[in-house]
């Protein structure tokens, strides 16, 4: 006998950062008008693309690695419940405590209570998408706890009272003179003679953070991977701030989406090659920290793992869409996306921007809450080619477009068009009508007004191909 527990729920409204205030076209319109943003993004994405392309080109087996990564993730998703229980068992056996959070509210509550139980009122944070997704910083602040971001770019975003616009490079929309202004305005104890030299800016952040690292007793992190077989967590990073957060404090709380799992230790071999080359364009990331529960006398003596669902089970229930859970958050799809390169990340309204965000955010929230995102792509396919775990993003976009509530007029037009196309005589009549109506020129009514705002429509030809063929 089985008990039906209901369909898995999506991420709740009113908490977290998965929904924007306006539709993608409206937000994109504003972003496109920002020349500084366009310049920053164009420069940054082109630089990362070139760097990543060069190190990927060094590997003769890159395609085989992608296939292996894809297969490992597919296997993990097929056995997710049992693997999660195995992870819990192994983390617990190693001295950690595992918490299960159905959604953002539950995860935020668990973390706030854990911090409160330590008696501390400040936490240092390792850059983490999961905690951005659930709005943990806002929740901690509401509970009287100060979260301090220690990744340089996340710190820039936090000090600027801003939102991240890229998965890997959250402050990609800022250039160094803007960063200098933010530091001068917001960073306690900053040298007023600060210049915009990258090394000087990094030095200022380092001085500010060093004191915080040494005096804060609780850290919150995400995780890039968790190994079910051993109960090991892994964080990959470039700056060493993560290593500080993961080793110095007394208490470490890790919030991790349930899909970050890999079955065995050996599986990391594939992902540790794929991730740095696809994301930062490095052969190996500078810092790889791994820990298994608690080690007496070494590192944090209290370790809590919060396993987050927040809509992931609902994604897993969709046969086509579930591939989006294979994502290892490398951002390669953002860096190659011609739409992202021009609009930037904020236009997507979610902490997950770009092509992966366009398929992940609507699935986590339910498509009606992010109805414009599946259309935020020209289906050019660059994302699919770049994805290190071969997520077929264009196919998921096309799939999700079927589930979006369609505008009534559009629905009627599309139905009429399909009917016409299925009746050759009607189709020919429509061809001739188009010719007679002179649907050409420079200013046409909706829905063609979007086209003619910037592009001419060609004159219809004097005869169609089939007319010509019939006369031959």
């Amino acid at each position: 006998m089985t008990t039906f527990l209901g369909m898995p729920t999506t991420a709740p409204r009113g908490v977290g950062n998965l929904r924007g205030d306006e539709s993608f076209p409206a937000a994109a319109h504003k972003a496109l008008g920002n020349a500084q943003l366009r310049r920053n993004l164009g420069h940054a994405t082109a630089t990362i693309r070139a760097k990543s392309g060069a190190v990927i080109g060094e590997l003769p087996d890159w395609q085989e690695l992608r296939t292996a990564g894809s297969a490992l993730k597919a296997d993990t998703m097929a056995r997710l419940p049992e693997l999660l229980l195995q992870l819990e068992e192994n983390v617990t056996a190693a001295g950690g405590v595992v918490h299960w959070a159905a959604d953002a509210n539950e995860a935020n509550r668990i973390v706030a209570e854990l911090v409160r139980a330590t008696g501390e009122n400040r936490v240092i944070k390792v850059k983490s998408m999961a905690t951005q997704e659930i709005g943990l910083n806002e929740a901690l602040e509401a509970a009287g706890i100060e979260p301090v971001e220690t990744d340089l770019a996340e710190l820039i975003v936090q000090l600027g009272h801003d939102k991240p616009s890229h998965i890997l490079v959250p402050a990609i929309h800022r250039n160094r003179s803007e960063i200098r202004e933010i530091f001068l305005r917001e960073m306690p104890g900053v040298d007023p003679a600060l210049t915009d030299e990258p090394v000087i800016l990094a030095g200022a952040a380092r001085r500010y953070l060093r004191e915080t690292f040494l005096s804060t007793r609780v850290a919150v992190s995400g995780a890039n991977f968790a190994v079910a077989e051993t109960g090991t967590l892994a964080v990959l990073e470039s700056e060493g701030n993560g290593r500080m957060c993961l080793t110095l404090p007394e208490t470490l709380i890790t919030v991790m989406g349930v899909e970050k799992l890999v079955p065995t230790w050996q599986d990391l071999e594939v992902f540790l090659q794929l991730l740095p080359r696809a994301s930062t364009g490095e052969r190996m990331n500078p810092y790889t920290s791994m820990w298994t529960g608690v080690t007496p006398g070494d590192g944090p003596q209290n370790f809590h793992l919060v396993l987050l669902d927040n809509g992931r089970s609902a994604v897993l229930a969709d046969e086509v869409g579930r591939q989006a859970l294979h994502c290892i958050r490398c951002s390669a799809c953002l860096n190659v996306c011609p739409v992202y390169e021009r609009t930037g990340g904020h236009a997507y309204g979610s902490v997950y921007p770009g092509p992966i965000g366009a398929v992940l955010s609507p699935q986590l929230t339910g498509v009606e809450d992010n109805a414009s995102l599946p259309y935020a792509s020209s289906l050019c396919g660059a994302c699919f080619d770049a994805c290190p775990v071969k997520i077929d993003i264009p196919s998921i976009l096309v799939h999700l477009r079927n589930e979006v509530p369609h505008p009534r007029t559009e629905k009627a037009l599309m139905r009429a068009a399909a009917y016409t196309m299925d009746h050759p005589k009607l189709y020919e009549a429509a061809q001739h009508a188009a010719k007679l109506s002179k649907v050409a020129g420079r200013r046409l009514p909706p829905p063609l007004s979007g086209w003619t705002a910037s592009r001419d429509l060609p004159e219809p030809p004097s005869e169609t191909f089939r007319d010509w063929w019939a006369k031959r």
């Binding site: 259309y375 935020a376 050019c380 196309m421 030809p461």
Partner: protein, 245 residues
């Protein structure tokens, strides 16, 4: 060889010159071209806009129309991409396994023009003459969906009188994307602006591609700017001869 022309609704209605050129080129190379009656549209616009159910009759019509032919050619990488990568999926989603199998069968015999010429007919020099400075835009679906690779350039390099100039950032989308150009008109225009800049930088007189849809987009932008660059379909260049000029 007897070759069935899948003209595509866009070429049929708006860009018949590309379709006529396809016919004349293949006939010049000694092949018989037939035009199967009853063909209309492959349904890609419906599929890509979220109206997959409405596309089902169009998929069925396409499969029925082209099933009797051994070789099918279309002057469009995008429409061939839909036939190859979407038709069976649409049939399968509707629970019609039989149609899915027939769709896969038709797809396996359907070629984009440059694929047909290079892979099936084994020609790169089609005897064309086109004395112009030309730049080639590899359309996204030709490049990444059906992977035509450098076949169009190999064909163009054999054209007498033609000067082929490299297009910067060639593999970036022009911003067309079907209904994307209407639903996200601003972003589409921003992408087009960069594509046009790169085209103009080549100082070519002609921008060539294997898809009338992308050419309609790039050409519509260039025309609005009175930029003095024409967009021409690959078939038209390959069909041009010294005798005809």
């Amino acid at each position: 060889m007897r070759i069935a022309l899948f003209v595509t609704c866009l070429a049929d209605t708006m860009f018949p010159a590309a379709a006529k050129a396809t016919v004349l080129l293949l006939e010049r190379l000694g092949h018989e071209v037939v035009f199967p009656e009853g063909q209309t549209c492959c349904g890609q616009m419906h599929i890509n806009t979220g109206y997959q159910k409405d596309a089902l009759p169009l998929v069925r019509r396409h499969v029925r129309t082209f099933a009797p032919y051994d070789v099918v050619v279309a002057p469009s990488g995008s429409c061939v991409g839909s036939v190859r990568h979407q038709h069976a999926m649409v049939a399968r989603s509707a629970g019609d396994e039989g149609l899915a199998a027939r769709a896969e069968d038709v797809a396996s015999r359907t070629y984009e023009l440059s694929e047909l010429l290079v892979d099936v007919l084994g020609v790169e020099d089609v005897g064309a003459y086109y004395p112009h400075r030309v730049t080639y835009h590899p359309t996204c679906h030709s490049l990444r969906m059906i992977r035509v690779g450098d076949k169009p350039q190999r064909l163009l390099r054999q054209v007498r009188g033609l000067e082929l100039v490299e297009l910067d950032a060639a593999d970036q989308c022009c911003g067309f994307g079907g209904t994307f150009a209407l639903k996200n008109a601003d972003t589409s225009t921003a992408m087009l602006a960069d594509k046009m800049r790169h085209v103009l930088d080549t100082k070519a007189e002609v921008c060539v591609a294997g898809d009338s849809s992308c050419l309609m987009h790039i050409g519509g932008g260039l025309s609005r700017l009175d930029a003095g660059v024409r967009t021409v379909h690959l078939a038209e260049i390959l069909a041009a001869t010294e005798a005809a000029t």
